[in-house]
């Protein structure tokens, strides 16, 4: 089932919560809504489910307008963050109870319950009460209850956020596999960008009541359309610097100084007009060495070295500007000084207008970007 949202807005009293949300979710897609807490993700999900009314705008399932349909007539299933299992029913009863509205024969219900339990590897625990299960198992029951309905659309609201880190990683994979097997349309809400990136086929980034960008994980990562998406997606976060561009001299002036105490310059790729910008550079594009190799290298003091073994996140500093270099090798933990080499390729330098935060791209680059905000 394909879902279409057109110009959805939502106010709680005078408080705006959603502003002009327009999006299309394709049949069978694993679609993720990501954004900081309070950005309206759950609200969108509840409007799609019909649990709360939108202030304005419409919802279509395939070509049918469902804006005013009751939740039960939308034939979808939902997995809640706190699982919303009924504590006084066994696992199997919970799943069966979810089939209430489908008017199946007892035999069919039995089969659905058994299949769903098998799919989440819980067949052995069918007679337990939810509180006799671990968090991860409860979460599986919630998923089983949703898939047992065989709804074409499943909504999940931060289903993994109550689990510990390791279990979360496992469950991510299981959910992705489940989606591959069942091919339902899945709208998945999370505040965790890693979850969004690893699970989603397409991702909607929300902030400040609005859609910031919609795209595949790599589109968001490589072509963030504004400073918010740029810093929200990716870990460690993209470094941001306030810089001035001199188009004639083809230089970027960083808010740092070189070894002689003069403003540090790096070369400007092309196509960016003169002016002041926010410049974003991904930590893994920042190279770090102990000796200066080029005239554009910037000397830095090492603030902290976080060694991961196969890589290092090194916090460095120049003129009170602290940023991160994420290097794919080990770095001496006692190093005090180092030199940073900034990238020179246009694709690695993300310019944003200082006032609007919108990406400023050269004409050539713009042509390559297809998906974006309206």
């Amino acid at each position: 089932m394909a879902i279409q949202l057109t110009h959805l807005t939502k106010h709680f009293g005078d408080t705006p919560v959603l502003d002009d949300i327009t999006a299309t979710i394709n049949e069978g897609e694993f679609y993720v809504l990501v954004g900081p807490s309070g950005s309206g993700k759950s609200t969108i999900l509840r409007i799609i489910a019909g649990l709360i009314p939108a202030t304005s705008g419409d919802i279509y399932f395939d070509d049918k307008k469902v804006t005013d349909a009751a939740p039960k007539d939308r034939h979808l299933a939902m997995v809640f963050q706190n699982y919303a299992l009924l504590p006084f029913m066994s696992v199997a009863e919970n799943i069966r109870f979810g089939l209430h509205n489908l008017h199946l024969s007892t035999a069919d219900e039995d089969a659905r319950v058994a299949d769903a339990l098998q799919m989440v590897h819980l067949s052995d625990l069918a007679d337990r009460k939810p509180k006799e299960l671990s968090g991860g198992q409860q979460q599986r029951v919630a998923v089983a209850r949703a898939i047992a309905t065989q709804a074409n659309l499943v909504l999940m609201d931060e289903p993994l956020s109550n689990l510990d880190a390791q279990l979360r990683t496992e469950m991510r994979e299981e959910l992705v596999e489940l989606h591959k097997a069942l091919k339902m349309t899945l709208i998945y809400v999370t505040h965790d960008q890693t979850e969004a990136m690893t699970m989603g086929e397409r991702i909607m980034v929300l902030n400040d009541h609005r859609i910031q960008q919609v795209g595949t994980p790599l589109e968001l990562y490589n072509h963030p359309q504004n400073a918010f998406v740029a810093t929200f997606i990716g870990s460690p976060k993209m470094n941001m610097f306030t810089v001035t561009v001199d188009a004639a001299a083809k230089t970027i002036t960083l808010p740092m100084v070189d070894e002689d105490g003069r403003p540090a310059l790096i070369p400007l790729p092309a196509g960016i007009p003169s002016g002041t910008y926010q410049l974003g550079v991904r930590p893994e594009k920042v190279r770090l060495s102990l000796a200066s190799a080029s005239e554009y290298d910037v000397p830095v003091t090492v603030v902290n070295v976080a060694s991961l073994g196969r890589a290092s996140n090194v916090a460095v500093k120049n003129s009170d500007v602290e940023f991160i270099a994420d290097i794919a090798e080990q770095f001496p933990e006692d190093a005090a000084k180092a030199f940073v080499t900034f990238p020179t390729a246009a694709a690695d330098l993300h310019f944003f207008a200082p006032d609007t935060g919108l990406a400023v791209t050269s004409a050539a680059e713009k042509a390559g970007v297809t998906d974006g905000i309206a």
């Binding site: 759950s42 019909g50 649990l51 709360i52 009314p53």
Partner: protein, 308 residues
């Protein structure tokens, strides 16, 4: 990360689109049964009592003549009512303090983690399962001048042949004693619940710091259970002001009206002397006392519950 759906928020915040009815079609029907009962048996009689208190009434209870605050003037200049009021206050004070102290002692003893604690808890709570009427019979038996063990005991202690219930002070003490006994189970159970919800860690830390068990009681236990304690005090005070059953069964208000507490006086004036106007005025005095006590309780203990 805290978003609204992580806490138990009343679903009221978001009525579903399909469920928005005009108010008279939905909630109304849920409230109607209770509203009807309350209107007929609470609001209406309350209004009528106020109304009756402003009238001189005839023997059938019908309002005969408007007397304004005349009935109030009458009762407040009636030494008997004054006596009733004073004795009520004395009783309320002794009863509430007694119940709370006894319950505290019982709860303190019963929270010890020892074998058989469950049995003692049941024993201490048992008076809550004994109705005021049955309890009164048990105590009448104890106070009986010829067969009562208390009377017999007093005689053996050299007090001679006392009839506790015909002695003014004795009757008051008898009513207070039996009332404390009746109220202790309820107060005990509440305090026990509160005591058991004080985290053991606090005591562990205090013990490590070398605090005596008295100090622990005063510095940890009492503050931690103070909301319950306050709740209980108010509840006991309200209950004591309404004391009726014990009086009717044990002393009949006597001797010489010593134990004729206000709720009993309302009953006597209304149903024995058929003086509805006067009884109503007395009932309103009782209402004001109870309302103030209840208001204090709402104000100071239930705030967090009402305005979550």
């Amino acid at each position: 990360m805290v978003s609204h759906n992580e806490t138990a928020v009343p679903a009221t915040a978001t009525p579903t689109p399909a469920k928005r009815h005009p108010w008279w079609r939905s909630a109304f029907w849920f409230l109607l049964p209770s509203l009807v009962i309350m209107t007929v048996f609470t609001y209406y009689p309350m209004v009528m009592t106020v109304f009756n208190s402003l009238f001189a009434t005839n023997l059938t209870g019908a309002a005969a003549k408007f007397v304004g605050f005349g009935n109030y003037v009458t009762i407040f200049s009636d030494p008997l009512f004054f006596k009733s009021l004073t004795n009520t206050f004395i009783f309320v004070a002794c009863d509430s303090v007694g119940v709370i102290l006894l319950a505290l002692l019982l709860a303190r003893l019963a929270t010890a983690r020892i074998r058989g604690a469950g049995f003692f808890r049941t024993a201490f709570a048992s008076t809550m399962g004994v109705s005021a009427a049955a309890a009164s019979i048990l105590w009448i038996f104890l106070f009986n001048p010829s067969v009562g063990l208390i009377s017999i005991g007093l005689k053996q202690l050299g007090f001679g042949n006392v009839n506790i219930l015909t002695d003014p002070t004795g009757a008051m003490i008898a009513v207070i004693l039996s009332s404390i006994w009746m109220g202790s189970g309820f107060a005990f159970l509440n305090l026990l619940g509160a005591l058991q919800s004080v985290p053991q860690d606090y005591y562990d830390v205090a013990s490590l710091a070398g605090w005596s068990s008295w100090r622990q009681t005063w510095k940890i236990t009492i503050p931690m259970v103070s909301p319950t304690l306050f709740f209980l005090i108010v509840v006991e005070v309200i209950g004591a002001f309404k004391t009726f059953t014990q009086i009717d069964l044990i002393t009949g208000g006597g001797p010489d009206n010593t134990t004729n507490f206000i709720a009993y006086k309302v009953y006597q004036d209304a149903f024995n002397y058929r003086n509805i106007g006067i009884a109503s005025a007395e009932a309103i005095v009782l209402t004001v006392i109870i309302a103030v006590a209840t208001w204090i309780q709402f104000r100071y203990t239930e705030r967090k519950v009402y305005y979550q």
